[in-house]
């Protein structure tokens, strides 16, 4: 039995009155209240939550519950974490209930982001499961009078080599509430894996293909009310007035909520809420101010005050650059565009608030909502429930904040806030505009002698870690100001993520200019700065390879010291058929590689593109990729993420740019912000998973974004003899470049 969403929901509703007492340490993200672990660090998130029963519980019936602070975003993490625990405990995955991010029940693992779930949570759970297994074996040893070496765990029992057995339930009866994890655990030998490393059927898919309860949008607690928001039409808009009274008298309306410029309506039935929202919006009068960039966006950004961060600076005087190249790569704003607009439920009762949300970080959200409502954090309970794919910081937290505000206005009723498509499109925080200015030179032998990079970007993270990053809080009568953002330090980085080329280069200078002022709302979009930086680096490497007269794949191999990087490059090239590729008229091939953050997953992508000469339309005909994420827990899950990343990145790269006028965002729906449809999908995508048993988990979800963009640009250059550097590479830009 697995934790289905309805179980989570039901349990949470029943436990509403607050009686779930959990005895484990809730160390905050910053590790302030950290207890001394004395010596080596604990694996992954165990460092923050070192008690074993924070992660693994065994019930009297032998049933195992695993707790993770991470959230299922559709990336398959639920299945992968279940597999890890099952493997170490020696039970079938079906025997595990996995509880995901819940401020009352699970450890605080911050955000499910950065492709860190396997590294942080997977590592912790694997170790904790192994340690629980060993603990149970020790107890069995005492109980049976048999040496531990003669015992092993199988199917929920500890079994002795003489056949005697004791069930997990018996062994765990007295609990292990005070047992702390140790730095080293007796992990199973990867060669003996029976679950991990096999492609697993995702536990959430059956409900999703049969209309089961699967998403926060599907929750229907008794007494639930529906709500819709009237969002401000632009960032600086202020509500002058709205005919609250008239709308309150409309059929089915329970309450109209107004707090400063926060405006919304609560009804019993859903479509009544939509009708009332439209009526309320029609009566609302706003004062607006133009505030959006006009003219040349990139010139405007470069004119803003910036903080200079030097990320690399080394010079080997011996390197002699002969041919020098310069190129500037740019991208405007791009959106998450989650297919299901954000949704949240909230219930305010007995001075406590429960929020069901698809936020990527329930603990930071809890703190932010508590601050917004002036409640102590302990009185706010945030539970993650799946939403549609978020691809980063979208409007999930804002919907949750609105739900909290409306719930407070109608206490003792669960309130469901559903954002409309136009609201999600216009109010969500986008991936920021970026500029990457590269220059470099090749020496006499064609090698890269020198590399200089200068990048400009806003913050790539304005996640709620405070009410000031909850959008509705900006519009309250007593508003919270958005805090001045700070850069994410390297080696992770934000706008400078992946800005340091991984290639062996004797002279290297990489500088980032962090621009705090954000004329357009921005935050983390899948792979953060890596998408543009890898696009730039991998396009530039091709330009250098061309200058050196070298094959693009061979050129990369030549400059890559890391064996695993070379393996991935060779695997993708082989899969694609790079050697012996015959170019059809109007077709071209392109290659790109990156190691995410220069420390996480390795991913190489090769594409074949066809260019329609008369229209400039580029289509990715096929793609081949190779991914090395370390130990592959669920190879099919990896493949799924890379296939998806390639297609999503292709859509960003060929089509996507947020549009706006002086005051408002004008990308309001799919007609004004088109994304890839079936007609654009390649004929085939081949993904090779390079499994590294025993190696650390490197994450997968963001690895394909950057390489795909550059591979496409390189293929267009190969097909049409034109080098495009401003994303997206639209058909109009391509046609203008290739001419008649």
């Amino acid at each position: 039995m697995n934790a289905s969403i309805s179980d989570v929901g039901r349990r949470a509703f029943l436990a509403r009155s607050g009686a779930l007492v959990v005895a484990f340490s809730l160390a905050p993200l910053q590790g302030v209240a950290q207890e001394k672990t004395g010596g080596a660090k604990l694996p992954g998130s165990l460092e923050k939550a070192p008690l074993l029963d924070a992660w693994i519980r065994v019930g009297a019936d032998g049933g195992v519950t695993v707790f993770t602070g991470k959230a299922e975003l559709g990336q398959g993490v639920r299945t992968a974490l279940t597999a890890l625990a099952a493997e170490e405990l020696g039970i079938a995955p079906a025997g595990i209930v996995l509880v995901t991010a819940d401020t009352s029940r699970t450890p605080d693992e911050g955000y499910t982001a950065g492709s860190n779930s396997m590294k942080d949570s997977g590592t912790a759970i694997r170790s904790a499961a192994a340690q629980v297994r060993e603990l149970l074996i020790e107890r069995a040893s005492a109980k049976l009078g048999v040496a531990a070496e003669r015992l092993h765990a199988k199917d929920g029992n500890v079994v002795a080599d003489d056949g005697r057995r004791v069930g997990f339930g018996d062994l765990a009866a007295q609990g292990y509430a005070e047992v702390r994890a140790k730095p080293d655990a007796k992990l199973k030998d990867p060669r003996s894996y029976s679950v991990v490393g096999k492609s697993l059927a995702r536990v959430d898919i059956p409900a999703k293909v049969t209309g089961g309860v699967a998403y926060v949008q599907d929750l229907r607690p008794p007494g639930m009310l529906h709500a819709r928001v009237v969002c401000p039409p632009s960032y600086r808009a202020r509500l002058r007035d709205a005919d609250v009274g008239a709308v309150a008298r409309m059929p089915g309306v329970v309450k109209v909520v107004r707090d400063g410029s926060v405006l919304g309506v609560v009804t019993a039935h859903e479509f009544d809420a939509i009708r009332a929202m439209r009526a309320l919006a029609a009566t609302a009068r706003w004062d607006e101010q133009p505030s959006l960039p006009h003219g040349d966006l990139f010139a405007a950004l470069q004119a803003l005050p910036a903080q200079e961060i030097v990320n690399a600076d080394r010079h080997d005087g011996a390197a002699q650059g002969m041919r020098r190249l310069e190129a500037t790569y740019t991208r405007g704003y791009q959106m998450h565009g989650s297919i299901g607009p954000s949704c949240a439920l909230a219930l305010y009762q007995d001075d406590a608030l429960t929020v069901w949300t698809h936020s990527q970080g329930v603990y930071p959200l809890r703190a932010s909502i508590a601050e917004m409502l002036h409640l102590p954090a302990e009185r706010v309970h945030c539970i993650h429930v799946e939403g549609s794919g978020c691809y980063g910081h979208n409007a999930a937290d804002d919907a949750a904040a609105y739900a909290a505000l409306f719930a407070r206005a109608v206490p003792a009723h669960p309130v469901r806030v559903q954002w409309m498509r136009e609201q999600e499109h216009t109010c969500e925080p986008y991936g920021p505009a970026m500029i990457a200015k590269l220059s470099g030179s090749v020496d006499a032998s064609g090698g890269i002698a020198e590399w200089n990079a200068e990048g400009w970007s806003n913050s790539h993270s304005t996640r709620p870690g405070g009410a000031g990053n909850l959008m509705p809080a900006w519009y309250l009568a007593t508003p919270f100001a958005q805090p001045v953002p700070k850069p994410i330090p390297m080696p992770e980085g934000g706008g400078d993520r992946n800005s340091i080329p991984i290639y062996t280069v004797p002279s290297l200078r990489v500088v980032h200019r962090f621009i705090p002022a954000m004329p357009i709302r921005v935050s983390a979009l899948r792979s953060l700065g890596a998408y543009v930086n890898v696009f730039a680096i991998e396009s530039f490497v091709d330009e250098l390879a061309h200058a050196a007269g070298s094959d693009p794949v061979a050129y990369r191999i030549r400059h890559l010291g890391d064996r695993r990087a070379r393996d991935v490059v060779n695997a993708a090239a082989t899969r694609f058929g790079w050697e012996g590729f015959t170019r059809k008229p109007g077709h071209g091939r392109g290659f790109a590689f990156a190691r995410y953050k220069n420390l996480a997953a390795y991913c190489a992508v090769a594409v074949e593109v066809s260019l329609e000469h008369e229209t400039g339309r580029a289509r990715v005909v096929r793609a081949a990729a190779a991914i090395d994420s370390g130990q592959a827990v669920d190879p099919d899950g990896l493949r799924n993420q890379i296939e998806g990343g390639i297609i999503q990145s292709m859509s960003w790269t060929l089509f996507e740019a947020v549009s706006y006028d002086a005051t408002r965002i004008t990308s309001v729906d799919w007609s004004t912000y088109p994304i890839a449809r079936f007609a654009d999908i390649p004929d085939r995508i081949d993904v090779e998973v390079i499994d590294r048993p025993g190696e650390p988990f490197l994450g997968t979800g963001e690895a394909a974004q950057g390489p795909t963009a550059a591979a496409i640009a390189n293929a267009i250059a190969d097909a049409g003899n034109v080098r495009l550097r401003d994303l997206p590479l639209t058909r109009a830009k391509i046609k203008a470049a290739i001419g008649v």
């Binding site: 009237v230 969002c231 039409p233 005919d243 008239a246 709308v247 008298r249 409309m250 059929p251 009708r275 929202m277 439209r278 009526a279 919006a281 029609a282 009566t283 609302a284 706003w286 409309m420 136009e422 609201q423 499109h425 216009t426 008229p585 109007g586 329609e612 000469h613 008369e614 229209t615 339309r617 060929l654 089509f655 549009s659 408002r664 965002i665 309001v668 729906d669 799919w670 007609s671 004004t672 912000y673 088109p674 890839a676 449809r677 007609a679 654009d680 639209t730 058909r731 001419g739 008649v740």
Partner: protein
């Protein structure tokens, strides 16, 4: 749809024509292929622009096919004609055509083999194009990618399927003359006249045709049909409630959209896509020429007109407005027009969702040409088929309602829209017109 009188008329003409003119024109003998020729780059670039103005690629490219390789079916009153492969392919395209062959096709409607071309290829307009411009088009066409693609056979009714009949048709209707400028008019006007009457062939769709399928010279731009769509009368003949000023017409032709008239749909959509790629001066010239033929009418200022039209939409769904709440609960489903209820549930989300909500704003229905047109043809097409932009390109998305609504429901909502949003007399032929559209759909 076959016009029997046209058939009879043409049969008689065929006999006369065949007697007078002989059975065929002479073929040419040049065998040089495209690959053997070289062209001046400036001439090719000029040809590209002219080709955009003439929409060559639009007709000569099949659905999902390669550019200029033909195969697009064009429905006419005489049956279906397929556009030909005009890539430089030697076997299946026009790769062997000489410059003179090309000129003869453009000016006289006769191909290299000496056969008559059907005036679905508007040579009766291209005949006005200068030799230099035709040569530039030739240079452009001959430098396109050669594609091997056989043109499907035409499916025409007797006697239209007999090419010699066209000799008679030309004798009656083809005025094979190069354009001569009017010295009393400005250079811009003359340029516009040259383009409109020549390459842009606006009258080919927008001028009504006689029983023989020739444009009625006495009713230029009075409204016509093209590929199952109504091509509305232009300017003074336009059914739109708002006058077509030069600015509005420029915006529409250049951007495919004008806030007081609507967006280009059906066969006009690719035309405005092409006009977006030519120099603005050319579009201004077209506008100058066309607007010179309009009468002057006075209208209220733009904002007032738009506001009034939006108010009509608001009223249409306004029973849900706060001050009309009591009205909404009092009225029952039966007393409400079925079309009105359909409109409120299916259309209002996009066509009126309440001011102040961010949304793409379709032009208010009351101002659109299709809602005010003499025929429901275009409104029905859009409702049934929807609007679908090119992949990856921004553009209006409207779902087709042909599956969601029954025949009777489509009739109800379209009749409701006409009654609610237009001051013109109601359409009486919605049902029959819809049957005509449905007969085309594959079952």
């Amino acid at each position: 749809m076959i016009d029997l009188r046209a058939v009879r008329c043409l049969s008689m003409l065929a006999l006369v024509g065949a007697a007078l003119l002989g059975c065929a024109e002479s073929p040419t003998t040049t065998a040089q292929t495209a690959a053997e020729r070289t062209f001046d780059r400036a001439q090719v670039a000029k040809g590209a622009e002219l080709s955009a103005l003439g929409d060559c690629r639009v007709c000569h490219t099949g659905d999902g096919g390669r550019a200029f390789a033909g195969g697009r079916p064009l429905p006419t009153p005489f049956g279906t004609i397929y556009s030909t492969n005009i890539t430089p392919d030697a076997e299946t395209g026009i790769g062997r055509w000489s410059r003179d062959d090309f000129r003869r096709a453009m000016h006289e409607g006769i191909d290299r083999a000496g056969r008559h071309l059907y005036p679905a290829f508007p040579y009766d307009h291209f005949t006005h194009v200068t030799d230099d411009d035709v040569d530039a088009l030739y240079a452009f066409i001959m430098t396109r990618e050669a594609v091997s693609a056989r043109t499907p056979r035409n499916r025409l009714v007797f006697p239209a399927n007999l090419r010699p009949v066209l000799a008679a048709w030309n004798w009656l209707y083809l005025d094979a003359r190069r354009f001569t400028p009017d010295p009393a008019q400005s250079a811009e006007w003359n340029r516009g006249a040259y383009l409109v009457e020549g390459l842009a062939h606006c009258g080919a769709c927008h001028t009504p045709r006689n029983i023989a399928g020739a444009e009625k010279r006495g009713e230029p731009f009075g409204g016509g049909d093209a590929e199952g769509w109504h091509a509305p009368g232009l300017l003074a003949a336009s059914p739109a409630p708002v006058e077509w000023t030069a600015d509005a017409l420029f915006r529409y032709l250049r951007n495919g959209f004008d806030a007081e008239h609507g967006l280009a749909a059906g066969p006009m959509a690719p035309v405005v896509d092409e006009l977006a790629t030519v120099p603005e001066a050319e579009v201004h010239a077209i506008v100058t020429y066309l607007t010179s033929r309009t009468g002057q009418t006075r209208n209220a200022p733009a904002n007032e007109r738009i506001a009034a039209a939006e108010q009509r939409e608001f009223d249409a769904v306004g029973r849900h407005a706060p001050d009309r709440a009591s009205e909404a609960s009092a009225s029952s489903a039966e007393t409400q027009d079925a079309g009105e209820v359909i409109f409120a549930g299916a259309c209002a989300t996009c066509h009126y969702a309440g001011a102040g909500t961010p949304r793409t704003t379709p032009v208010p229905l009351a101002l659109t040409t299709s809602v005010n047109a003499p025929t429901p043809q275009n409104a029905l097409r859009v409702v049934v088929e929807g609007l679908h932009p090119a992949s990856g390109e921004p553009g209006a998305i409207m779902p087709g309602f042909g599956s969601a609504l029954t025949h009777a429901q489509i009739v109800a909502v379209v009749e409701y829209v006409r009654a609610r949003f237009s001051d013109r007399p109601r359409w009486t032929d919605v049902n029959a017109t819809l049957h005509g559209i449905e007969r085309e759909q594959p079952k």
